[in-house]
Structure formats: C-alpha cells, structure tokens
C-alpha cells in the first residue's frame, strides 16, 4: 500500500526534468532547490586540478561548498532579509567568492558554522524570488528511498531494519548508487545530531516520525495481522519522506552526519533518542513558544514580518489539525464502507444461490462479484486517503512545529542580544561612576569588561541578524516546498481517485448485460 513510485535515474545536471520529478518519490521531489548543490558542480569541476595534492576530493569539495554556502548566504541576505531587485550572475559571484577563498582555507568540520571573520564582499543582495528561480533550473541530483522493512531478532529485543538506498550524481558521495541498513533509532539519532547543530541557526529541521510503543510492541511480539503490516508500512513511508526532506534541504545535505547516515555501512547505536522523539521535541518547542510570546517584542519593520509569519504558522497549525481530524474520519468511514460492502456481497451471493430462476440467480451472483470488486476499490481508496492525504497533513503539522522552533530560536537570540546590551549599559554606568570617583585600577577592569561586552553585543547582534536572515530564508523555502508538496500529493491522490472511478465504470458496464439477460 506504499505510495512509492518507480524510481527514475536522476537526469544529467542542467537538463530539463519536469517529468521525472512528478513521478518521483512520495514526498518532496528533490528539485534543485538549493543553490549549494547547483554551485558545487562548477566548483568541483573548476577545482579538480587543485586536489592533486592527495586530499580526498569529496571532502575537499564539501568544505569548499560549505564555505561557498557561508559566503553566499551572508552576502546575499545582508540586512535582515530586505529584498533587493538586483540581478547578478550567480556563478560569477560564486567564482569571485571562491577565488577569495583559496585552498589554504583550512578544512572545517561543521557543515554550517558561520564564521563571522569572513570578509563580506560587496556584492549586491539579490531578490529571493530570483534565487529561487535559479535554483529551480538546477538539476535534480539526489534520490533517496526507504524500502524492504525486515524484522531482525526475536521477542522484545527485535527491531525492524530498513534499507536506505541512495542514487545521486553529487560528487560528495563515494558512489552513485548505494544502500545501507538502518533502524528507527538511527533515524532519530540523525535528527538529534542535526538539531543540536542546526536548530540554533534557525534552520527548519524536518522532524522524524513519532515513536510508537504500542505499534512496535505488536511487531516485536510477532503479531502477523494487518494492523502490524499497516504500522510497518506507515512507518516506512514516513521514514522515507523524512529522509527526502532532509536531503532536499540545502544546508542539511551538506552535513557530514547526513552523508554518514546514507553511506556508512555500520552506524554506532544512537543513544538517548528516547529524549528526542518528535513529540517530545515538539512539546519542548510549544512550551518555549508560549513563554516567549509573552515577552514584549521590539517593533521594527522586519519584526512585523516575523510576527505576521508566526501568527500565520499558528493559525495554519490549527487548520491542519482540523483537516487531519476530518480526513481521519473520512478514512474510517471508508473502511466501514469496505466492511459493509463485503457483507452485502455475501448476502447477495446467498440470495443468488437460493434463487430458482437461472438467469436471475446468475445476475445476483454477478452482482455479488461486482460488490466484491467495489470493496477492493474502497480499500485502495481508503489507503490512498490515508497514505497520501492524512500523512501529508500529519507531516506538515510536525513541520510547523519545527518552524515554530526556528522562530523561537530567533527570539532567544534577540533576547541574548538585548540582555548583552543592557549589561553593557550597566558596565558603562559603572565606568562612569568610577571615573567620577577616580579609581584608576578598578577603572581599567571596568574598561576591559566594557570592551568585552561591546564585543559580545556586536557578536549577538550579528547572530541575531544572521539567524533572522536564515529563518526568513528557511521560511520562504518552507512555504514554497509546502505548496509544491501539497500540489504533487493531491495530483497523486486525484490520479488514484480517477483510476478507481474508471475501473468502477468498467464494472458497471460489464454488469449491465447480465441484468438485462434476466428473463
């Protein structure tokens, strides 16, 4: 019942690829939404000769890409995301940056550490929309699938292992196609690592599917019923969508943890994942957001934007929850219809059997068969309702939680900045007092503290600016992804709906002559 579609080999970079995208995997199509992936290739190619010194090409490129990412993001989104309409050749800018960044830049480990010491080049900021467009033109480079759930072990120590397969043209990976086996806690572990690293920067990190003690226990115990199978399938599909969202995210894709997750044969057991199940994390976020929203917020132009968006997010959360509840009830009713149809089919079969008149008996038996076929259709439709619509809504409810988390982070950063400013102010007051009281030794200390805090204020202000930029960018990307996601899922839903309907038409057409043949 998985909503997975046939995988197409990723086309060559630069090729138009509308069709493969729409037939792509369940969730997000890995459209070239990230400038970094797009950039990396020319970078890689142009830097080929430079890696002759024995460094591992993949690593080098990833470091370069990181720096590139850092640069572009800083230069492009300078003042709190204020848009400008200047156009620039993306690649030209990149090569300019890179020439500044010669290979002497030491390899950095972190995927997204923004080093404030980089000089900001004076390139003009470009509009978000234009960058988005350029991203769209980039080819699809990455395809991830989660398949073949297998039960490993027995009893309460058993677990499900999932095959994670990747197909990619990105040079940062060792091979073009490869697969590894992962278990659920590995996915949770990946999420934990990513949040620790990236959530402070305002990245929207896709949340993983929730833990379910009940569901897993059934599987462990070995219950071979349809509810266990459903549960495993649901989880498999959810894990797949989760991974697809992760690799679709430009910054996260660069993270070595992600790469390791996809590539490495044996992964160390993730520990402490019980603290960070999706629901738990969300609860944390929700509590924090309640607290912070009670704070008074400095009103400025960009803050209005953030306030607005946060409100949008909250109302959307409510709406999606409502939709999810409604779709859930739809799924249940459809399942009920399945049951009723099956029972009705049996009773008609019995009626047909008891019937003397041959033609009538035959027609009634055919009727029973038509109803049986309709039951199958209803089953498939219920699965479609669920796996396409309900899970989509559930995913986005979780994602909105992550979005709220980002806004939260920004508020916290702002708070640090404000607090630092007020501390600085206090220190200055102390200095003034000391000047007046004429105590030179304490004055020296005071001046040192002031200088320290001035540095902090500058740092926090920069942090705040940076996170504001990131959050804004992430949010816009999220909105775009959301529309695309919904649209592609609904198209899929409609296609299945249409197909069901057409088969139904065929059933009726086949039955009509039977009915007419009754004498």
């Amino acid at each position: 019942m998985a909503a997975s579609s046939p995988r197409n080999p990723p086309p060559l970079r630069g090729a138009e690829n509308q069709d493969p995208l729409s037939e792509m995997a369940d969730e997000d199509s890995d459209e070239g939404e990230d400038i970094f992936v797009g950039n990396s290739n020319p970078v890689a190619e142009s830097f080929q000769p430079d890696t002759a010194n024995g460094e591992e090409p993949a690593d080098l490129f990833s470091e370069e890409e990181t720096s590139t990412a850092v640069n572009s993001s800083i230069t492009t989104f300078k003042s709190n995301g204020v848009h400008s309409d200047n156009e620039n050749d993306l690649f030209a800018e990149v090569s300019v940056e890179l020439s500044m960044e010669n290979p002497s830049t030491t390899a950095k480990t972190s995927g997204a550490e923004f080093t404030p010491s980089l000089t900001l080049s004076a390139t003009q900021p470009r509009s978000m929309e234009q960058l988005e467009e350029e991203k769209d033109e980039d080819s699809f480079d990455m395809d991830v699938a989660v398949t073949n759930p297998e039960k490993i072990g027995d009893g309460m120590n058993a677990y499900m292992a999932y095959k994670v397969s990747t197909r990619t043209t990105l040079p940062m990976f060792r091979n073009r196609t490869f697969s590894v086996w992962r278990r659920f806690s590995d996915f949770l572990g990946l999420y934990e690592k990513l949040s620790v690293k990236h959530s402070l920067n305002g990245c929207i990190i896709p949340p993983p599917p929730e833990k379910s003690v009940v569901g897993m226990t059934k599987v462990k115990v070995g219950k071979e019923d349809s509810s266990s199978a459903d549960f495993v399938e649901r989880r498999r599909a959810a894990l797949e969508r989760y991974l697809q969202r992760v690799v679709c995210h430009p910054s996260l894709l660069q993270d070595p943890d992600v790469r390791e997750f996809l590539e490495r044969d044996e992964l160390p057991r993730a520990v402490g994942t019980h603290t960070l199940s999706g629901a738990g994390f969300l609860k944390m976020i929700n509590r924090a957001s309640d607290a912070v929203s009670k704070m008074t917020i400095k009103i400025s132009y960009s803050d209005a934007w953030f306030d607005n968006k946060l409100q949008e997010v909250e109302s959307e959360d409510l709406q999606l929850r409502k939709l999810h509840a409604v779709v859930d009830s739809l799924v249940n009713h459809r399942k009920e219809l399945c049951g009723n149809t099956a029972v009705f089919a049996k009773s008609m079969a019995m009626l047909g059997n008891s019937e003397d008149n041959t033609a009538l008996s035959r027609a009634l038996s055919q009727l029973a068969e038509v109803e049986d076929k309709m039951e199958t259709l209803h089953q498939e439709q219920a699965a479609s309702d669920f796996f396409i619509l309900a899970e989509l809504l559930a995913d986005y409810i979780r994602l909105l939680g992550a979005v709220r988390g980002c806004f939260e982070q920004r508020m916290k950063t702002w708070q640090s900045w404000q607090e630092a400013q007020s501390t600085l102010q206090k220190k200055r007051e102390v200095e003034a007092k000391l000047l007046w009281a004429n105590k030179p030794d304490k004055l020296q200390q005071a001046k040192e503290e002031i200088s320290e805090w001035e540095g902090k204020v500058t740092q926090y202000e920069r942090d705040f600016d940076r996170i504001s930029v990131t959050v804004r960018k992430e949010f816009l990307r999220f909105e775009k992804e959301k529309s695309k996601d919904f649209k592609s899922q609904i198209v899929k839903y409609l296609e299945s709906l249409l197909q069901s309907q057409q088969r139904l038409v065929m059933f009726w057409e086949a039955f009509l002559p039977e009915a007419k043949a009754i004498a």
Partner: protein, 438 residues
C-alpha cells in the same frame, strides 16, 4: 407477525384450540365452522373457473349470491382507473401524520382522480381486501404487502423497521412503495374488483369511516400462530418445495436488504464527512498578497472543489442505491413475507383437514354423518385454497423476477451514469490541478 400491524386493531382475541379430538372441542369447532365466513350452507362453488386461466393471472368467476348487501357492494364492479397510471406523488406533513396524494388516470381517458389518503385509509383498504368475501380459496391469494405505518419523529428503532422506506427525502421511497402496493392491487384480477379499491382511488371523501366487517381470516392466522404449524409436513411436493424455498428466500432477502441499508447509510456518512472536509479547507484560505500564501490558498480552494465532487458522487451513489435496488430488495423481502403468510394459511387449512379426517374416522356412528360433512367441507376448502395458491405462486414468481430485473437494470444504468459523470469530473479536476501554479 410483526408485519401485519393492522392486526393490532383486531379487538377480539379468539384463542381457541383447534385440532382437539374431544367431542367438546368438536362443538367449538362446529361453532367456528358455522360462522358466516365458512358459508357451507350456501351454494357450493361449482364453477370456480379454475380451469380456464391462461397465462399468469388467477381469475375466477363470482357465483356467490348469498351474501349480504355490503359484501355484494364490496365485491362487484371493476376498476375505473388504469392500474399502471396510479401514482402516489407526495407525502404532506399534517401535524404528526402524513397524508399521501394519490393520482390515477380514468380508463375512459377523460381525466384523472386526485385523492388524499392517510395510512389509516390504506389500512382500511387492506382490511377490505382481506375480509372482502367468503369466496373459498381467497386464502390462497398472495396479498400485496402494505408498508408499515410511517411514524414522524419516531425513535430510530421504529424507523429502522421501515428500512429503506424511511430513507430518502420527503418520504419519497415510502410513496413509491405505496404506489407499488396500489398498482399491484389494481393489477390483481380478483382484488381489483373490490369496490373498496374503487372507492379508495376515486372518492373525494376519505373512505374507511364506515365500519368494515373485520375479516376473520386474519384472526384465523393470528389464532393459528399459537399452533406453530409452520413446520407441518405437506402432502404435496410442489408446495413443500415452495415452502422450503420461500423460507430460505425470505431470510436471504431480508438479510440482503438490511446489509444494503448499512451500505447506503455509510455512503451517506461519507458524503457528510466530505462536506466537513470541504468546509474545513475553505477556512484555510487566506486573503494575502504574499505569493507563497496565495499559492497554498489556491491549492486549498481547488482541493475543496475536488472533495465537493467526491461528496456529490457519494450522494448520487447512495440515492441510486436507495431508489432502485434498495426499493427492489425491500419489495422483494416484503413480498416473500406475503407469500409466506399465504403458504402458512394453506398449511393451517391442511391441519384443519387432517384433523377433520381423523375425527371422521374415529367418530361414533351417531356423529359420523356430521363428521363426514365437516371433513368434506374442509377438503373442499383446502382444494380451493391449493388451487388458488398454485396460480398465485406462478404469477408471483414471474412478477418478482420481472420486478427484480427492472430494479437491477435501473440500478446498473443509474450507477453507470453517475460513475461516468464522476469520472469525467475527476479528470477535469486533475487537469486543473496539474495546471496550478504553472
């Protein structure tokens, strides 16, 4: 007998024991037989016309002359309206009761009759038919089943008894069931001649305000209930088979009807759920200039239209199910019950006959003549009933096959049309969606 609600109107409870072998019982038995219902002293019906029916209809000539004026009136005459044109067009709410408008076309072609009737009036008609005459063999007629009384603001359990007939808007299904009932009565060669029917269809005054002599045979059935003769073995293979088949079919058709009701109810629930979904989607629409928000709003609006289509599909499918196969199954189920009752009446007559035969054999010489007379009468009655029954059974089967055939064809045609419409609409939606945001 749950179905025969009119029996509740029967005031007397005539619970006597039949089949006893004492002389005491015999007296009671004689008293019973001596009632006017069994007019043995009257002219025997030499001509029953049993031989000259062709085709599927049961016709018999009326030769009974020794009946009261009322019976005369009740029996003579033929219907002045065309059976197929009888319509029950609507149900009008009148406080707590429903009034039905019955329209029928004059045979002469010179116009139509419009009358308003309540369910009590229908019941009156049914009773008339049951009690119409002391024609032997009347017990062998399969009487068209009258739907149970519709109750407004009734508890769900009561409505459930009506099944399909209580569903549909404005009691439309119920009206159609009444219509079928009237058409069946009017098409029955014997029953259609009942003056009460003419009265019912044409008189502007509501009928049934006159006291109708309550037919004994319904009391008979009720009384016989206590004897549990349903399983009594038959002397005739044809009838034994028919009884067995009927038993199975009654059960099967009732069960099928109930299951189908469940299907239709769930389809209606699905339509309602889709409505909620569609409404909830509309609430997601934001009036924003932001292009991303706008794009999402557009998606929500379009999806809402899709869900609306799905809703309309369910509504149509449920309606089609209701009005064709649902009604057909309901009618089939009730008709099987009607046949069951007829067969039961005949079985009771068989019991009476066998009892009378036994009594005649064991009678003391002084009573022999009387016993023999009783036995002969019972035999005659039984033969008449069996004769009528055979005819009715043949007619019944061909009618019900035809009814089911029509129901199935109509059902299939309507569902096919709905399915094609929906398919077309879905494909339009798909195209619209694919073109979104391009």
């Amino acid at each position: 007998m749950d179905e025969d609600l009119f029996l509740e109107d029967v005031g007397d409870s005539w619970s006597f024991q039949l089949g006893g072998e004492d002389e005491d019982d015999l007296h009671e038995y004689q008293a019973f037989l001596g009632s006017s219902f069994f007019d043995l002293s009257g002219d025997p019906f030499s001509q029953m016309g049993l031989g000259d029916h062709e085709g599927k209809q049961f016709c018999w000539k009326k030769t009974h002359t020794d009946s009261s004026a009322e019976e005369e009136e009740a029996r003579e005459g033929s219907l002045s309206v065309s059976a197929q044109t009888i319509r029950v067009t609507e149900a009008v709410r009148d406080g707590d009761a429903l009034t039905f408008i019955v329209i029928s076309q004059k045979l002469s072609g010179s116009g139509e009759y419009h009358v308003a009737r309540t369910h009590e009036d229908f019941q009156w008609l049914q009773q008339c038919l049951f009690s119409q005459e002391v024609v032997p063999g009347i017990l062998g007629v399969i009487f068209p089943p009258l739907p149970a009384k519709p109750q407004l603001n009734a508890p769900t359990k009561v409505l459930k008894q009506l099944g399909f007939l209580a569903m549909g808007e404005d009691w439309r299904m119920y009206c159609m069931a009444l219509e079928t009932y009237l058409q069946q009565v009017a098409a029955h060669t014997t029953l259609s001649k009942n003056k009460c029917l003419e009265n019912f269809l044409t008189s502007s005054e509501p009928p049934g305000r006159q006291r109708v002599r309550k037919g004994i045979f319904n009391r008979l059935s009720q009384a016989m209930e206590g004897m549990r003769k349903e399983g009594h073995k038959d002397v005739d293979d044809f009838f034994q088979t028919e009884r067995d088949n009927n038993l199975t079919l009654t059960g099967c058709s009732k069960s099928a009807t109930e299951r189908f009701i469940d299907v239709v109810l769930t389809e209606q629930k699905l339509a309602v759920a889709c409505g909620h979904f569609s409404t909830a989607l509309h609430l997601c629409v934001e009036q924003e200039e932001d292009s991303a928000v706008l794009a999402f709003s557009k998606i929500c609006v379009k999806l809402s239209e899709v869900i609306d289509s799905i809703k309309r599909n369910f509504e149509s499918v449920a309606e089609n199910n209701l009005s064709t196969l649902g009604l057909g199954l309901d009618l089939e189920s009730r008709c099987q019950e009607a046949e069951k009752e007829m067969l039961y009446r005949r079985t009771c007559k068989l019991v009476v006959l066998e009892t009378a035969s036994r009594n005649a054999e064991r009678a003391k010489p002084v009573k022999t003549a009387a016993m023999d007379e009783l036995k002969v009468a019972a035999e005659k009655e039984f033969d008449h009933v069996s004769g009528v029954a055979k005819q009715e059974i043949a007619r019944f089967h061909s009618t019900r096959v035809e009814l089911l055939r029509q129901a199935l064809i109509l059902w299939c045609e309507k569902q096919l049309e709905t399915a094609r419409d929906t398919s077309f609409r879905y494909s339009e939606h798909l195209q619209a969606f694919k073109g979104l945001g391009e």
